[in-house]
C-alpha cells in the first residue's frame, strides 16, 4: 500500500531533502530547483506531494495525506485552534530551528524579556493568527485586536500594530528586521506529523521506518516564560496629516514599479526587484510602506492606509467576504493582467462551466474547491448552487491540488502555461484581474489634496486601452 507524504516547498526544502537522503528515502524531483509538485516512488511505496508549509498540517489532518514534514509551528497553529484534529506529531527531525517571537517597534520602549502592561486595545499582527490569539489570551490583554496576515508582519509596528508575532531564527534576526524581540513563545524545529487515524489503521512503515532513527523528542508547545516584568509602552497613533500609501512586495512589485515609473513617480527604496519596508517619498505629505498585496484591502478598510496598490483579485475576495467594507477601486492600472476561473483536471469531461455543472451536480458528494481566494470560491459555489461545497483555503503550490485533493481550483492564470504544465485546464474565467489603486471612502487622511494629486499623476501614466 502506498503511503502519501506531504513535503514543504520554500525555505525548508533543502533541509528536508537532506533528511530524506539521510533516511535513504528518494529525493528525485525534490531538489530546491525542481518545480515538480508530486512524485510517485513505487519501489518505496511512497507518493510525495509538495505543499506550502502551512498547508501541510491541514492536508494531513484532513486525511488527504498520511504524513508530512514541516515546521512544528504550523502544526501548533492548526492544533491550538482545532484540538480535535487527527494530527499526531511523532517527533522532531534534524534541521533548522526557528523561534516565534513577540516583537515590538523600538519606539514602544520595551526590551528583551519584558512584556507590555496590559491595556485595552493592543494591536497584534501575525501570520500565525491562532497562536497570536492564544498569546494575547494568556497575557490577558483586554480588548486586544488581532489582525491576521499573509506575511511581512515586521512591516506593521509601530504605526499599524503594536506587536508582531513572527518567525525568526534568533533574537538577532528579529532585530535585523528593525524590531525589538520581547519573548520567544515557540521553538519550532522540523517535525514528522501523521494522521492519527492513518496511524491507527494503516501500515505507515514506508515512511516511519526510514525516519525512525532520525526522530527526536516531541517539540515544545506554546510557552510564555512566567514572571517577566510588565512595562508601560509607548503606542503610535496613525497620523492624519499625511497620506499613507501601501505598495506590494512579491510578484506584484515589478508591475507596480512600472506603473509608478510610467507616471513619473519614484520612491527611493522601491525598485523593480528590491525594496525596503519604508521607501522614501519625495512627494510632500505622502508616506509609503511595502506590505503583502493580499493584506492591503483589510488595512485600507481599517484606515491604516489611505491608498494601496494591490490586485483586483484581492479586492474582490475582500469585498466578497465583507460586502460592507469601505474599500473601493480608485484606478485600474491595467497591468499584471490575468484571468481567474475554475481550474479542473485536463481529463475532466467538460470544457465550460455550464457543462461542468452537470458533472458536479451529479457527484453525490460534496464538491471540493481549493483556492487562495476562499471568499471568491464561496461565491462561485453559491452562484452555481454547488451542493455542499467544501472550501479549502490554501496558500500556494495550488496546481497540485487537483484532482486528488480537490475537484476544482479557483485560480488565476496569465498565460495558462503553468496550468497546462500541471495537467490542468481552466473552464470559463469569471474575473479578469489587473493591478489597481484602492482607497477608503471616506478617507481618514486630512490631506485629501495630496491623495487627489497622487491619483491624478498615477492615472496619467496608465496606458490607453488597446483600440482606444
Amino acid at each position: 500500500m502506498t503511503v502519501k507524504l506531504a513535503l514543504p516547498t520554500g525555505d525548508n526544502r533543502a533541509a528536508v531533502a537532506a533528511i530524506l537522503r539521510e533516511a535513504g528515502l528518494p529525493t528525485e524531483g525534490y531538489d530546491p530547483s525542481s518545480r515538480l509538485l508530486r512524485a510517485h516512488f513505487a519501489e518505496h511505496a511512497l507518493a510525495v506531494r509538495i505543499f506550502r508549509e502551512r498547508d501541510i498540517p491541514v492536508q494531513v489532518a484532513l486525511g488527504n495525506y498520511d504524513a508530512g514534514i514541516c515546521s512544528a509551528v504550523w502544526v501548533l497553529e492548526e492544533s491550538i485552534r482545532f484540538p480535535r484534529q487527527d494530527l499526531r506529531v511523532l517527533g522532531m527531525l534534524p534541521g533548522p530551528v526557528v523561534g516565534v517571537w513577540l516583537a515590538a517597534a523600538p519606539v514602544a520602549g520595551l526590551d528583551l524579556a519584558t512584556l507590555p502592561a496590559p491595556e485595552p486595545g493592543l494591536r497584534l499582527v501575525s501570520e500565525f493568527p491562532n497562536l497570536a490569539d492564544a498569546v494575547a489570551i494568556r497575557l490577558r490583554w483586554p480588548a486586544y485586536r488581532l489582525f491576521p496576515l499573509y506575511g511581512s508582519a515586521d512591516a506593521y509596528p509601530p504605526e499599524d500594530a503594536d506587536f508582531a508575532l513572527l518567525a525568526a531564527p534568533s533574537a538577532a534576526d528579529v532585530e535585523q528586521l528593525g524590531l525589538v524581540p520581547l519573548v520567544e513563545v515557540v521553538r519550532s524545529p522540523l517535525v514528522l506529523v501523521v494522521n492519527r487515524r492513518a496511524l491507527a489503521a494503516r501500515d505507515l512503515t514506508p515512511i516511519i521506518g526510514p525516519l525512525k532513527r532520525l526522530l527526536g523528542e516531541l517539540p515544545p508547545g506554546l510557552a510564555i516564560p512566567a514572571g517577566l516584568p510588565l512595562r508601560p509602552m509607548q503606542r503610535c497613533q496613525r497620523r492624519t496629516d499625511v497620506v499613507r500609501l501601501a505598495l506590494p512586495d512579491g510578484h506584484a512589485q515589478r508591475h507596480t514599479f512600472e506603473a509608478l515609473r510610467d507616471a513619473g513617480i519614484t520612491f527611493d527604496g522601491y525598485g523593480e526587484k528590491s525594496f525596503v519596508r519604508r521607501p522614501r517619498s519625495d512627494i510632500p505629505g505622502l508616506e509609503v510602506k511595502v506590505v503583502r498585496p493580499q493584506d492591503m484591502p483589510a488595512f485600507v478598510a481599517r484606515g491604516a492606509f489611505d491608498a494601496a496598490v494591490t490586485g483586483v483579485d484581492w479586492l474582490r475576495d475582500h469585498l466578497a467576504r465583507f460586502p460592507g467594507s469601505p474599500v473601493r477601486m480608485a484606478l485600474d492600472l491595467g497591468r499584471s493582467r490575468y484571468k481567474i476561473g475554475p481550474v479542473v483536471d485536463k481529463a475532466f469531461p467538460a470544457e465550460t462551466t455550464a457543462e461542468a455543472l452537470r458533472v458536479w451536480w451529479g457527484l453525490g458528494r460534496p464538491v471540493r474547491i481549493a483556492s487562495e481566494y476562499p471568499a471568491l470560491a464561496e461565491d462561485f459555489a453559491r452562484r452555481f448552487h454547488l451542493p455542499a461545497a467544501v472550501i479549502m483555503p490554501i496558500n500556494g503550490a495550488s496546481e497540485g491540488f487537483v484532482p486528488e485533493d480537490a475537484d476544482i481550483l479557483i485560480e488565476g492564470s496569465e498565460t495558462g502555461t503553468s496550468i497546462r504544465a500541471n495537467g490542468l485546464k481552466m473552464l470559463d474565467p469569471f474575473l479578469e484581474s489587473t493591478n489597481c489603486l484602492i482607497v477608503r471612502e471616506p478617507a481618514l487622511t486630512a490631506r485629501r489634496d495630496v491623495l487627489a494629486r497622487f491619483l491624478a499623476q498615477l492615472e496619467a501614466g496608465v496606458p490607453a486601452p488597446a483600440g482606444a
Partner: protein, 431 residues
C-alpha cells in the same frame, strides 16, 4: 452513452462516465471527513435538539424558574446571541482556558478587526445591557438563554441557563434572596436542594500566603483555583496553614464547623476570618428559614469573577446551578449577586417521553370540514387541546363530525353526543 476511462496524474484511478443527463463522477478519492451530500447532515457538534418529550421537560424547568424569579420581583431580559469578543476580554472575568473555548468569528464588518463571539456567558452581557440602557439600580434581572462554549467531549457546546443578576444587591439579603429563588425553582420540580457554600475570601487569604508579591504565580494559581478548587493550593501551603486547608477541604455543616475553621484561621490567617463570619450569618439565616446548607470551601470557583460568598445547588448527587456575589466587570454597579441554573441538565433529568396525543376531530366528508373547524374552535376556547385529523388513530379519543351530528369514539366504542357542551364536558373529564 460513452464512457471515458481516466487515470490522469493521480496515483488512484478515476472513472468519468458521461451519460446524456446525470453524470456520476467519483473523483480520485473519497473525502475523509465529509459525509456524502445525499446523506442528511447531522446537527453541529455540541449543539442540541430538544425533541417533544425533552422540550416539554425543558418548558417545565423553564416555567418553574420564571415563576420563582417573577415572584421575587425579577424582570426578564434577553441579550443577543452574538456579542463582541472584546466585551469578554475587556471584562477580564473569563480565564484563558474559558476564552480559548469560545466560538469566535468575523462578522460581516470583520474587516475592522473586531471579532464576534457566540455568547459564552450571560452575566457579562446582562451587565452590559443594563449599563447600555442605563437601567436604574438596584435592578433585579432574570434571563433564560443558552451559552456556547467548545468542550472536548462535545457535550456542552450549547447549554441553556436560567439566571438571575441582582445588580446592586445588598449584603446578605442579596445572597439569601438569590438562593431562595434557586431553591424554590428546584423544589417546584420535585428536588430537595442542598445549598453548598464557600467564600472566595478564604481561597484568597490562602493564596496570599503563597503568592504575595509574585504576580505570575498568583495568576497561575488563580486559574488553577477556578478549575480545581482549593486543592490546587495544598502543595504550596506552609505547615502553619496546611491544617486549616485540610479542614477546609472537608465538608461540614452548622456553626460548629465554621467555629473550628475560625479557630484555625486565627493563627496566621486573619484575612479569612471575615469571610468565615459572613458564611456563618448565611448558614444561620438559611437554617432558620428551613433550607439545608453545607460548607464546601474546596469547591472550584473563579475568584477573578466572584468577590464574596459562592454557592452550588446540589440534589440527587448532582449540581444543578451555581452563583455568588461578584463585582460587575463593567459599568456603574459595584456589587451584585447572581445565579445560573442548568436548565438543559434539569430538562434531561425531568424528561419522561412524549405526552399522549390530544383528541382528534375527524370530519367524515369534505362538506363536514367547516363544522369540524367550528368544533375545534369551541374545544380550544374551553382551554382544551384537540387536533384535526383525516381519520381516527388507534388508542386516540376521536370526535367524528358528520352529517348526522357528533360521535365520540373512545376505548373502542362510539357513542353519539347531543351537543357541543356535552362533548366539551366529556373531554374535560378525560383530560
Amino acid at each position: 452513452m460513452s464512457t471515458t476511462e481516466y487515470t490522469g496524474a493521480s496515483t488512484a484511478a478515476s472513472v468519468y462516465v458521461r451519460p446524456t443527463t446525470a453524470i456520476p463522477y467519483h473523483g480520485s478519492r473519497e473525502m475523509a471527513d465529509t459525509a456524502p451530500a445525499s446523506a442528511l447532515p447531522t446537527r453541529s457538534r455540541g449543539m442540541r435538539d430538544l425533541l417533544p418529550g425533552e422540550m416539554a421537560a425543558f418548558r417545565r424547568a423553564e416555567d418553574a424558574f420564571r415563576a420563582a424569579a417573577a415572584r421575587w420581583g425579577y424582570e426578564e431580559v434577553r441579550t443577543p446571541t452574538i456579542e463582541r469578543y472584546s466585551l469578554f476580554t475587556l471584562a477580564g472575568t473569563l480565564t484563558p482556558q474559558m476564552l480559548s473555548r469560545v466560538y469566535t468569528f468575523l462578522d460581516w464588518d470583520g474587516w475592522s478587526g473586531e471579532r464576534v463571539v457566540l455568547r459564552p456567558d450571560s452575566t457579562i452581557p446582562v451587565v452590559r445591557a443594563a449599563e447600555e440602557a442605563g437601567l436604574p439600580l438596584p435592578a433585579r434581572l432574570s434571563y433564560v438563554q443558552p451559552r456556547y462554549r467548545y468542550s472536548h467531549d462535545g457535550e456542552e457546546g450549547e447549554l441553556w441557563q436560567g439566571g438571575l443578576e441582582y445588580l446592586g444587591a445588598p449584603p446578605l439579603l442579596g445572597e439569601v434572596e438569590v438562593l431562595a429563588v434557586g431553591c424554590e425553582t428546584l423544589e417546584a420540580l420535585g428536588f430537595a436542594p442542598v445549598v453548598r457554600l464557600a467564600h472566595v475570601g478564604v481561597a484568597r487569604a490562602l493564596l496570599e500566603t503563597v503568592a504575595a508579591g509574585d504576580e505570575a504565580k498568583r495568576q497561575e494559581l488563580t486559574d488553577r483555583l477556578a478549575e480545581e478548587g482549593l486543592a490546587a493550593l495544598l502543595p504550596q501551603l506552609s505547615s502553619q496553614h496546611a491544617s486549616f486547608a485540610a479542614l477546609a477541604l472537608e465538608e461540614g455543616d452548622g456553626p460548629g464547623f465554621l467555629a473550628n475553621l475560625r479557630a484555625l484561621a486565627a493563627d496566621g490567617l486573619a484575612a479569612a476570618v471575615p469571610a468565615l463570619e459572613e458564611l456563618e450569618s448565611m448558614v444561620e439565616t438559611l437554617g432558620a428559614s428551613g433550607r439545608r446548607s453545607v460548607i464546601a470551601l474546596g469547591m472550584p470557583c473563579d475568584f477573578e469573577y466572584y468577590e464574596g460568598a459562592v454557592f452550588e445547588f446540589s440534589a440527587r448527587d448532582a449540581v444543578w446551578g451555581r452563583g455568588g456575589r461578584y463585582r460587575p466587570p463593567l459599568g456603574r454597579c459595584r456589587t451584585a449577586c447572581g445565579l445560573g441554573l442548568e436548565l438543559s441538565a434539569l430538562a434531561a433529568a425531568l424528561a419522561t417521553g412524549r405526552a399522549a396525543p390530544p383528541p382528534a376531530v375527524v370530519p367524515e366528508t369534505a362538506a363536514d370540514l367547516p363544522r369540524a373547524l367550528d368544533v375545534l374552535r369551541r374545544i380550544h376556547r374551553a382551554g382544551l387541546s384537540a387536533s384535526l385529523e383525516a381519520s381516527a388513530a388507534a388508542n386516540v379519543v376521536a370526535v367524528h363530525v358528520g352529517p348526522h351530528g357528533l360521535r365520540l369514539e373512545a376505548d373502542g366504542a362510539t357513542v353519539p353526543v347531543s351537543s357541543l357542551e356535552e362533548l366539551i364536558s366529556v373531554l374535560a373529564q378525560q383530560k
